[in-house]
């Protein structure tokens, strides 16, 4: 539940790191909370072209992410809901959100949002394979079929498999960056529609509608960040210590993302596939390491 | 009087009478009556087998009965068709359909008379067990059918006649040589002198082994090439497409029966080979000819432009199938004999429908016949049904027989033969598929009306769609008595369906018994 409250911190954290790295002061870490709060009080403007699908997009997107959150373990701590194959459900719930966001974008009839939708779908296609490969590698490593036992099992892995964990973590990190449209995949702060991917999709959403999207985005960052963070060695002495450790790990992942964003430039759209492909290769390698 | 003799004499006498009768109507009735009587007597003879006549001159065995029944049934269909057909043909000069000239028809009396003689000679072939007499009968079929081919008296049918006459005569002459070789092979047989070239003598107990293998082989080769020419086995088939495309539909149909008769000649020689332990040698040749015929037909059925020719090639294919089945032996034999019946029915139906289409559209070009489905729905339905029947699609009986032959090939572990057989059947189907629907369907609409052309939808079909001028040819109104001309093909289709779905068990046993004679 803490995730619900803390998630909007993450984008702030990333931006903060970026600003610091660039030598600026940057917006406060809680900027997203303020944005959300402001937006929440506004009215909305709907495009005359749109239908209920346009409104369903943000709602279903948020609902899907929220549901997916119940499946995310806090490191070795089990998730609210856990069952064999829950990682598939998690990934597909994100897919559901994306499907309707894409539809909502297409519903506006705008060429820009169509373009964003098209690129988003393409990125998703690219990210899905490393995500599954990484999760499968972890499942193999922990010899379990549900997220919670997997992450719980990782703590007890033999010492030689750290490299595998590291590789799987790298793959998940790429997925984290890709799915959340961060640099070097996408620049969330760009202001030219033609170069945007995720942001251009939500051009027409306003007010509370935008809140749903932005908040959903933050939650997704939390969710995928959690998958990476769970891989880090967390204190296992007590549940509260683990939870605290997990929060710290989440923050660490965000910091890492911030660092990556500050040091790398956005890669060209045509060369985009290389990154997820590399991630897939990492995940495969991790799998091979877990096999032996 | 012996039924067997009656079977030959009645059509012969009717043929003589047909020449004598002046007015058309009684002559047509005579034709119908003879056909019906022939079927009736054949049925009776099948029921109580009449005793052999003379020293094997005329005798009815299962094999002969099968081919006799086919001949008789086809003749009935032809006679039923002939009456409205002849009634439609105008006396005097008429314009040709494709070229600018006038021609006349042969006198109807000649036509009917020859038709009946033709029946008599075919019956003789089916009934005799003396190979010499069988030869005489087969040569006679060529001669009695020659005037039929030249019914429409113009240069194309004359060319057809000449090819038919010369090539078949040469072929049959070779078969005569085969008969001589056979009698050379029999010199040492004990019963040889008593009844030369009588089948029972040749395949009877103790006689067969005394045949001289070298002569027997030569005999089989000559007979196979000789009768094979008449039966349309590739590469001896060349006369067939050229002749069939010009003969009246009716005659082409009867030639279907004729092919079977020629095949019977080969089967008789095959029986002798089997009895003399030369089965393997003969089988190899039959399988070879069968497959080669199918292959040749497959090649020529691709891009065929003329539908009677297409039917001729299809006949070559099916004679190939039958030969293949017989050559394989085992279960395939019964299948092959069953197929002989099915093919005759299906091909007869197609020829009759083709005749109807010719009457409607006045052209033999496939590309010029379009929109049959709307212009003449029943004809179109029959044409499509014929297509599926001839390509061996269920529920038509052809499917069952082709399946049996495949099963036979597989049962004997002839994998290569089975694969080739299936492959060629598929190729032939593809070739014929280019033809039939195109004729039934209306002109393709290129612009407007419905969906725009979708990207990536490229036409697989050969480009004959563009080869024809635009504008659907509108067929002239159906001629008088047209409905009557639909009856025989309908009956044939029904027969094929019945054979395919609910064959009388006795008939199935009959085929299996026939099969035992030559396996």
């Amino acid at each position: 539940m803490a995730g619900l409250a803390l998630a909007p911190l993450l984008p702030g954290l990333i931006n903060r790191v970026k600003a610091l790295a660039a030598g600026r002061r940057g917006p406060p870490t809680t900027q997203l909370y303020r944005d959300l709060w402001k937006l929440l009080r506004k009215g909305v403007v709907y495009s005359a072209t749109t239908t209920w699908v346009f409104r369903a997009g943000p709602r279903l997107g948020l609902a899907a992410t929220l549901t997916a959150l119940t499946l995310m373990p806090w490191g070795p701590l089990p998730a609210l809901l856990t069952f064999p194959g829950d990682m598939v459900v998690l990934v597909y719930l994100l897919g559901l959100g994306r499907f309707f966001t894409v539809l909502a974008a297409l519903d506006t009839g705008s060429s820009f949002e169509g373009m964003g939708a098209s690129r988003e779908a393409c990125l998703a296609a690219l990210a899905e394979v490393p995500l599954f490969l990484a999760l499968a590698a972890l499942a193999r490593g922990a010899d379990a079929m549900a997220l919670s036992p997997i992450y719980a099992g990782l703590a007890h892995l033999p010492a030689g498999t750290t490299a595998g964990l590291f590789l799987a973590g790298a793959a998940l990190l790429v997925v984290y960056l890709t799915e959340n449209a961060r640099i070097p995949i996408d620049d969330p702060n760009t202001h030219l529609e033609l170069t945007m991917i995720h942001e251009v999709m939500i051009l027409d959403h306003s007010g509370p509608e935008l809140v749903l999207l932005e908040y959903g985005g933050a939650l997704k960052l939390w969710l995928l960040g959690g998958l990476v963070a769970g891989l880090l060695p967390l204190p296992a002495s007590a549940a509260w210590a683990t939870a605290l450790g997990f929060l710290a790990a989440q923050a660490a992942v965000a910091l890492l993302a911030g660092l990556i964003e500050s040091t790398l430039a956005r890669i060209r759209l045509v060369r985009l596939p290389q990154l997820p492909l590399a991630a897939a290769a990492f995940a495969l390698l991790a799998f091979v390491l877990f096999l032996t | 009087m012996n039924l067997l003799l009656l079977l030959i004499l009645i059509p012969a006498a009717a043929g003589l009478a047909a020449f004598a009768i002046g007015p058309d109507r009684p002559r047509r009735i005579l034709l119908l009556a003879t056909a019906a009587l022939h079927v009736f007597i054949t049925g009776t003879a099948a029921w109580h087998r009449p005793p052999p006549l003379g020293n094997g001159w005329l005798a009815l065995d299962d094999l002969g009965l099968l081919f006799l029944a086919i001949t008789s049934l086809l003749f009935l269909a032809a006679a039923l068709y002939a009456v409205p057909y002849l009634a439609h043909e105008k006396p005097g000069a008429q314009a040709d359909r494709t070229e600018p000239f006038l021609f006349v028809n042969a006198p109807e009396a000649t036509f009917t008379g020859c038709l009946l003689f033709f029946l008599a000679t075919m019956t003789l072939v089916c009934l005799t067990q003396r190979l010499g007499l069988l030869w005489v009968g087969l040569e006679a079929t060529t001669l009695t059918s020659a005037p039929l081919i030249y019914y429409h008296r113009h240069h194309r049918s004359l060319e057809a006649l000449w090819k038919y006459l010369v090539i078949c005569s040469v072929g049959i002459a070779l078969a005569l040589l085969g008969n001589f070789c056979l009698s050379a092979a029999t010199v040492q047989t004990p019963g040889g002198a008593a009844a030369p070239l009588a089948l029972y003598g040749l395949i009877g107990q103790g006689h067969a082994g005394a045949l001289q293998p070298a002569w027997l082989k030569a005999a089989f080769i000559f007979i196979l090439v000789g009768y094979g020419t008449k039966a349309g086995l590739a590469p001896l088939h060349a006369w067939m497409p050229d002749t069939y495309s010009e003969a009246p539909a009716l005659v082409a149909l009867l030639s279907g029966a004729l092919l079977n008769c020629a095949l019977l000649g080969i089967l008789r020689a095959f029986q002798v080979c089997l009895a003399a332990d030369l089965g393997a040698f003969a089988r190899d040749l039959l399988v070879l000819f069968g497959l080669f015929s199918m292959a040749v037909a497959a090649v020529f059925l691709l891009r065929q432009r003329n539908y009677p020719r297409m039917l001729a090639y299809s006949s070559i294919e099916h004679m190939g199938i039958i030969t293949l089945g017989v050559g394989l032996g085992g279960i395939a034999t019964a299948g092959a004999l069953f197929h002989a019946l099915n093919h005759s029915l299906a091909k007869a139906m197609l020829f009759l429908v083709a005749g109807n289409i010719l009457t409607l559209y006045q052209t033999k070009e496939i590309a010029a016949v379009r929109g049959l489905g709307r212009a003449a729905p029943v004809t179109a339905a029959l044409w499509l049904a014929g297509f599926f029947a001839i390509t061996g699609a269920p529920p038509f009986a052809t499917f069952l027989s082709e399946l049996q032959i495949l099963l036979g090939a597989l049962s004997l572990d002839r994998w290569g033969v089975a694969a080739l057989y299936l492959g060629l059947l598929a190729a032939i189907f593809i070739g014929m598929l280019d033809v039939f629907p195109r004729m039934v369907w209306p002109d393709p609409v290129r612009r407007g009306g419905g969906a725009p052309p979708v990207a990536g939808t490229l036409n697989f079909e050969p480009s004959a769609d563009t080869a024809v001028p635009d504008g659907s040819p509108t067929p002239p109104p159906e001629p008088r008595h047209y409905a009557w001309r639909l009856l025989p093909p309908c009956l044939l289709a029904a027969a094929l369906l019945v054979l395919g779905l609910a064959m009388p068990p006795a008939l199935a046993q009959f085929f299996e018994r026939c099969g035992m004679l030559i396996r």
Partner: protein, 218 residues
């Protein structure tokens, strides 16, 4: 005269007629030659002294053959010739010299084939089967290489003669007279019908060139 000698003389006559058929361009010569050939081989059974000749039926049969091949067929063909107004075979597909060469080759091939077929009766000349095959092949060669429809009929007759020779040689018990008669009747009708066809062809086309009958093809 010795039977064997007579017999071989007849065979030589057959060979010579064949060669003449192969080189002759005059249709009249061809018709006469093939008629002579027919008469010659009708005499073969007499020379061989077959049993069947002894019977009246057999004698009648031989007489019929002579009549048919020596008189009726030439008459039919000459009639067709008159109608068609042609005298010569023009430009065969294969020149006369080459035809001759091929003909001689087939004679050798005939010996080759005959070697594989043991004669049932050792009393028969070993040359008979090769000559029969040669005659057949001559007929087929004429059918294949000549252009005029009439020459094709002549070729058919030569083929028939060859087969008849063969029959005389190997089927010495022969076919029953009924079949023989049937065979003769068939051949007669065949030639008759071919004659009629030639008549029609010449009327329809103003020529009797079989090689120009190619409207029907694929």
């Amino acid at each position: 005269m010795n039977t064997f000698l007579t017999f071989d003389l007849l065979l030589v006559l057959l060979v010579l007629t064949n060669l003449l058929l192969l080189v002759s361009s005059r249709l009249v010569t061809c018709i006469r030659t093939v008629a002579a050939q027919g008469v010659a081989l009708a005499l073969l059974p007499l020379v061989l002294g077959h049993d069947q000749v002894a019977t009246i039926a057999g004698a009648l049969l031989a007489l019929t053959v002579v009549l048919l091949k020596g008189a009726v067929f030439p008459w039919l063909l000459f009639r067709a010739l008159r109608v068609a107004h042609v005298k010569r075979e023009i430009e065969p597909y294969v020149s006369y010299t080459v035809s001759l060469l091929i003909g001689i080759l087939t004679l050798f091939a005939g010996y080759g084939i005959a070697a594989r077929l043991p004669l049932p009766d050792p009393g028969i000349s070993p040359h008979l089967v090769p000559v029969a095959i040669f005659t057949m092949m001559t007929g087929l060669l004429l059918l294949i290489t000549r252009r005029k429809a009439l020459t094709q009929v002549v070729g058919y007759l030569a083929l028939e003669n060859g087969i008849y020779t063969f029959g005389v040689a190997v089927a010495r018990d022969g076919s029953p007279w009924l079949v023989e008669l049937g065979v003769l009747l068939d051949i007669f009708v065949a030639v008759f019908v071919m004659g009629i066809a030639i008549f029609h062809i010449s009327r329809e086309f103003d020529h009797i060139d079989a090689d120009q009958l190619t409207a029907l093809k694929d």
